[in-house]
Point group: C2
Chain length 483, copies 2
């Protein structure tokens, strides 16, 4: 009995037509994005007002949608794929990744269990094992050893899962069935990402039980302060359960001293998590692997391929030394999810490695990226960005109006006009309003500081040069004119 | 000074070429997927063994990748987009969604803040407001009122966020800075999704503080038992903070009695969350809106457009009655995320509405779906699936070998061969091994039961008919032969 499968065939046809239109739109977008104002100039509510109040009752054509994309949506886009984007950390991408993501959308598999698409799980295991070798991470993070890697949506979520695993281990797997033990304490530096504090809140550990450890003059966690805080908590009958260290902090890309921190964690039996969301990718290059010195102490680790490894959001790679510690913290198995493969214990069910049950086939885009560029191609990108950063710094240092704040690390420069915050705030505002570049800010030692991060896939010397030209131009105007 | 933008132009060209190849691949996949065995027949490790142990050092062509997709990946896919997929709940999709998702991948914006792409936030607000009207949800879920909606990755994550908001409100916003108050208690039915229990664990409330409320003979939470449990906890000095009710439970699609549960929650001031992950979409149709009777009591609500609204994973719509309750539970604002728009309080920053900081532009695919099909088109899909389900039930009831277990609700049928579990387990295994359909199972009243859910986008009467034919065929073989 042959089936006609009319709907499947009609869908294929519609995808050929509408998908083609979308693909052309994106290709044109990539061509023209360098000319668009990087930071969207719209005001709050502008986009909302351009959109109909009610959903259409009847079908509309994809052409009509694309027309509105140009007129109503595009003006409200801040262009993360512009080569003139230097703000926050990048979310870089590549054609290989977009094509790989299209395959993932097309498959539409939901890989919650090994059985619900074995390839979704096993390709992820293999590609994450590749990355252990590519970044020279400790071998216990391999799925063939005690650990393993998993793709999560963000470093925020990975940091939360690391904390949950640490919490679970400290309370001996399950003794906190009565609720989070209020004696638990956790530790991170004053320069760590806000997601650590958010995780502490989510996990019910309580913000008062998060010890914020001082940083040194290079914005690195002070191991001596960490040791002192842990010892004090031990004396007070607390249960230290988690240390969150950072390789490449958000404000300055500072690198916490993992060897010293790791030794302290090991001595006290505390879970050490290392968040290398932005910086991790640098370890593709031999000469930059110093960033991971001491990583062998870590119980868990994450970095974002969606920041600096040409893979479009979302793609955080999260590793654990011991997968049981993680899954113990997250497993719940109702009858409707039981199946032979899971029960046999011979497969990985990634639903037990993160908060969501459902999961998209994200390994596909990562696989496409690694194969399309090869390890050498990815290394070349990192080296180019680091090189451009060094050039930018040399220009900056040749202009006596500016000062760099914090050591320049990898691809991030923190700088400011010598003088009051107001002049720097005005410069920041003028630069972003120019539309020619977008950069963000932070505060260091109480001072307003500009952050310039080079990591967008399509950024070349000409864009860094044009940005520097713009910075110099606006810096020459008296700051008061900006008021 | 005109920039050459060579890399952007080269990327556009590469995307035209590789994106086209990926698009053709997906279109062919959709054409042929009805012929493929629905449940992947591979064994644990088969796919891993087919993949290289090491990442390539040099660039490979996209053609080479697609070739391996066919040979190494495709055999390990369980085909969620097959019209012969009847397992779990569907993760249905559409060409409009895939094309919309391609636009999202192409933009590559990261919408953590309003300022990092105003359109990413405001299109999401508008489309989620559309859905309030489309499903006739309570108006306080509108962003123009006290509440609002947000897209999350999964109902699991939405359920966690609802719990966190309830926990925060019960402890008067911040009084749990010392850690999760161990007096807190939460309530859900024995048929609720496992993600509620997972959320309880994550949030540090403790599994012993989750009260599992009995269900009636139709698998619905018993309000009298809920009331009794809450009263007992109040007498014991506990703090009831959260009730998780379900519209469309995973095992049987049963619908908890929201009017009675809601009245109890209101009386005791407890956060009521309603998880309608699968069933919610049915409310597109007037005649099916009974499922949401009593929803006006809910403090939060979620349903999955990636299950039954033609939107590819991930796209959970999560609503709150009072957005402040949610953001209080999740906000942390470091200096590097501060900006004029956020500080002004005139914009929504969706990073404070969920666990991750970063976020993809998921509203685009949803916008494309709603516009491409129109409300009428989406309604027609729901009606078709419900109608097909009714037909399947009539066939089942005309065959005296079978019995239905639990009332048939919307698009899910729970049935079994009259007789021992072993016969049903054998039937289940043979059906899935045939490759001609995929269905999953559950246990109800201690018995092994088959679940047949009709929600795949391309499923037509011919596929349901063929599935029924297959079921009848294998049911005629003596069960013992399967041993």
């Amino acid at each position: 009995m042959a089936l006609t499968n009319q709907r499947s065939r009609a869908a294929a046809e519609q995808l050929r037509r509408d998908g083609q239109a979308a693909l052309d739109w994106v290709a044109r977008y990539l061509e023209h994005v360098p000319e668009l104002p990087v930071l969207s100039p719209v005001k709050p509510g502008d986009i909302l007002r351009a959109l109909p109040q009610h959903a259409p009752q009847q079908s509309e054509s994809f052409d009509a949608i694309l027309k509105d994309l140009d007129s109503s949506i595009l003006p409200g886009i801040t262009h993360w794929q512009s080569p003139n984007y230097f703000a926050y950390f990048p979310a870089n991408s590549s054609p290989a990744s977009v094509a790989g993501d299209l395959l993932s959308s097309g498959f539409g598999v939901q890989g919650m269990l090994w059985a619900t698409s074995p390839a979704c799980t096993e390709l992820e295991m293999r590609v994450l094992d590749w990355l252990v070798e590519m970044l020279a991470l400790p071998e216990h993070f391999l799925s063939t050893r005690s650990g393993g890697g998993v793709i999560q949506d963000s470093a925020s979520s990975a940091n939360l899962c690391a904390l949950l695993a640490g919490r679970e281990r400290a309370t001996q797997f399950g003794s906190n069935e009565d609720g989070c033990d209020q004696r638990l304490t956790a530790y991170t530096s004053a320069q760590a990402h806000s997601s650590i504090e958010k995780a502490i809140k989510v996990a019910g550990i309580g913000r008062k039980n998060l010890r914020i450890i001082e940083v040194d003059d290079q914005f690195r966690m002070k191991p001596s302060h960490l040791a002192r805080a842990i010892e004090q908590d031990n004396r007070d009958g607390r249960i230290p359960c988690f240390v969150g260290a950072t390789v490449g902090t958000t404000s300055t890309m500072s690198i916490d001293p993992l060897p010293e921190i790791g030794a302290i964690c090991r001595e006290h039996g505390i879970w050490l998590h290392v968040d290398a969301a932005m910086a991790g990718t640098a370890a593709l290059c031999d000469e930059l692997r110093y960033i991971h010195k001491g990583l062998e102490y870590a119980d868990s680790y994450c970095f974002d391929c969606h920041k600096w490894m040409l893979t479009n959001f979302d793609c955080t790679c999260f590793y654990v030394r011991n997968r049981t510690a993680l899954t113990n913290a997250l497993t719940i198995t109702p009858e409707y999810l039981r199946n032979t493969a899971s029960t046999s214990g011979t497969v990985v069910d990634y639903r037990d490695w993160h908060i969501p049950l459902g999961r998209r086939f994200r390994a596909l885009k990562l696989w496409c990226v690694i194969r399309s560029y090869g390890v050498e191609g990815l290394r070349a990108m990192v080296r180019r960005h680091v090189q451009l950063t060094n050039e930018f710094v040399s220009w900056l240092r040749s202009d006596s109006r500016f000062e760099t704040i914090a050591p320049v690390s990898l691809n991030l420069v923190c700088f400011r006009l010598k003088g009051p915050d107001s002049a720097n705030e005005a410069l920041h505002q003028k630069l972003n309003a120019s539309g020619r570049l977008f950069l963000s800010h932070t505060k260091l030692n109480g001072k307003f500081v500009l952050r310039f991060c080079i990591g967008q896939s399509y950024t070349d010397e000409e864009h860094v040069g044009a940005a520097w030209h713009e910075i110099q131009k606006h810096a020459t105007e008296p700051a008061v004119a900006a008021g």
